[in-house]
Amino acid sequence: MISKMMKWFFWVVLPLFLVIGAYSWVFTQETKKEASQGATQPTEATVVKPSVSEGSEATKVELKLDKEIYKGGETIKISGKVPPGMKVNFIEITSIDSKVQVSRLDRKDFKFYLSKEIPAFYHIVINEDYVAKIDKNGTIEEKPVKEIYNKWKANKKWKIGEFMKETNADIAFITPPKLISEIKVWKTSISKAIIGSRGEPLPSLTDKKEIKKEAARLIQTRMKDLPKIFSLGKIKTNEDGTFEYSFKLPDNAPPRSYTVIAVVNKEVKSEPIKLTVDVSFPKIYFPVAGTSTNFLGPLILSLAICTFGVLMGAGGGFILNPLLIMIYHLPHGVVAGSVMPTVLFSQATGIYNYSKIGFINWKLGITVGIFMALGGFFGPLLNQFVTLDEYKFVFGIVLLGLAALMFWQTTPGYIERSKKEKAILEEFKKRAAAAKKAKEEQKS
C-alpha cells in the first residue's frame, strides 16, 4: 500500500508540482520585470514624439490622395507637388492603428526581441529610376536601385538593414520608430528555456536608433518576403514638380488609419497624410494574425479539413495548419495558438463519454499526461524561437511520419490485427455500458 502511494507521489504529484511551480515562478519573474520597466516608461515615451519637418516653405512637399476611405484591394491615387528640380524617390505607407505582436530570436547573440506595436501593414515604394548613393569610406558610390533590388530579391536570406542602407530606403523608414515606444529584450539561454522562460529580461530598447534598427528586423520577420515590404514603382514627377503614383492596397489590408509620406531625400519630405481602410462584413479583420479576409474562407477550410480529419482518424490540425500558412500567410505562432485550442471541446466530450462507461485508466492517462503537459509547456516557447522555415521543416517531418503511420494502418497484417482488437473493444464497451446501467439501477 505504501509503495503504491510512493509511486503515485513520484509519478503524479511531484511532476505536477514541478510544472505548476516552474510556471508560476516564470510568470512572476516576467511580470516583476514588466512592472519595473513600466515605471520608467512614461518619461521615455515623451521622447519618441513625431518630429516636425523642419523644411521651410520652399522645400515642402505637398501630398494629396483621391479619397479618404478605401477598401482592401483598391488603388490609392497619390499626387502632389515637390519643389522644382526635385523628385519623389520614396513613398511610405503604414497602418498606424492596426498593430500586431512580433518576436524574433537573434541567433548570433541569442537575444529575443518582442514588440506589440509592429504595424500590421507596412510598405515603401521606391522610385525605379532612383540612383542610390552609398558612402564607402568617404567616396560616394552610385548604383541604380533596380540592380540592388533584384540582387536582394533573389536572395532568400535577405537582410532588411543592409537592403535599406544600400537603396537609401532607410530615409523613408520614418513611421515605425515613432509608432513603437519600446521593444522588449530577453537574453535567452538553454537553462532558462528548459524551465520554460524566454530568458533573462534585459532593459527594453527605448533609444530611437536602436528601435529603428530592430523595428525593421521585426517587420522583416513578420512580412518575410522583400517584395511585400518594398516595391519598385514608376513615381512620375513632371517638370513643374507635380507627381503622381497609384498604389494598390492588398486584399488583406488591415482596417483603420494609415499614413502616407512622400520622401525626396533626408531633409525634404511631406507631412504624413491620413487615410482610412474600411473592412466590412463578410470580410473581417483578425487582430492577432493581422490580416483581413472573408470569414467564409477559413470556415469552409476548417470544416472540410476537420471532416477529412475525422474520417482518417487524426485531428484536422495536421493538414489545417500548413494550409493556413500557405494560403493566408499567417504567422506560424498564431496558427498554432489558434488551431490548438479548437480540439479541446472534442477531447473533453470524448473523455467525458469514456469516463461515463469507466473506460479510462486514470493512473495511466494522468501519468503520461503529466509528461505531455510538460511537453506542452515547452513547445509553445520553442515555437517562438523557430523561424518559419524551421517550423515548416519540423511539420514536414511530422507529416511524413503520419503518412507512414497511415500507410502502415492499411497493410494486411495491421488490418487483421485491428479487426480482432476492434471486436474486443466493442465487447468491452458493451460490458462497460451494461455494468454502468446495473450500478445505476442498484442505486435507485
Binding site: G333, S338, L344, Q347, N361, G369, G376, P380, I424
Partner: protein, 134 residues
C-alpha cells in the same frame, strides 16, 4: 521502471520510462506545431508500450488533453491566440465532429487512409521545399 495498473479486472504492466519520454517528445512536437498528436500517442501506447487498444483509447485521450490544455494556455498568455480565428476554426471543427461520422459509414476506411497518406506525403514534401513539387 514499470507501472502496474488495473483495468476491468485485468492487471497490466507498462514501461513508464518509454511512456514518459515518448509522451514528452510527442507533446513538444504537437504543441510546437499546433496539432493534437493522437495518431502518435496511440501507437506509442499500443506498439511500443505493448498495451491492448481497449486500454489505450480513453486513456490516451486523457493524456493528450493535458498537452492541449497546457499548450493552449501557454499560447494564450504569449498573446499568440487570435480569438476570432479560433472561434471560426472551432465552429468548423465542432460541426466536422457531427458530419464526419455520418460520412464515415459510407466510405472504406482503408481507402480514406491511403488517400490521407498520399495527401500527407504531398504536403510534407511541399513544406520541406523539395524541388519539382508543383
Amino acid at each position: 521502471m514499470k507501472m502496474k495498473f488495473e483495468f476491468w479486472g485485468e492487471t497490466f504492466e507498462a514501461n513508464m520510462i518509454i511512456g514518459a519520454l515518448g509522451g514528452f517528445i510527442i507533446a513538444v512536437a504537437a504543441s510546437l506545431g499546433g496539432f493534437g498528436g493522437g495518431p502518435f500517442v496511440v501507437p506509442l501506447m499500443t506498439v511500443i508500450m505493448g498495451l491492448p487498444i481497449y486500454v489505450v483509447v480513453g486513456s490516451s485521450l486523457l493524456a493528450i488533453f493535458f498537452n492541449t490544455l497546457m499548450a493552449s494556455s501557454r499560447y494564450y498568455f504569449f498573446g499568440q491566440t487570435d480569438v476570432l480565428l479560433f472561434i471560426i476554426m472551432a465552429i468548423g471543427a465542432v460541426s466536422a465532429g457531427f458530419i464526419g461520422p455520418r460520412i464515415a459509414k459510407r466510405l472504406s476506411p482503408i481507402w480514406v487512409k491511403r488517400i490521407a497518406a498520399i495527401g500527407c506525403t504531398y504536403l510534407a514534401l511541399k513544406l520541406l521545399n523539395v524541388p519539382f513539387i508543383p
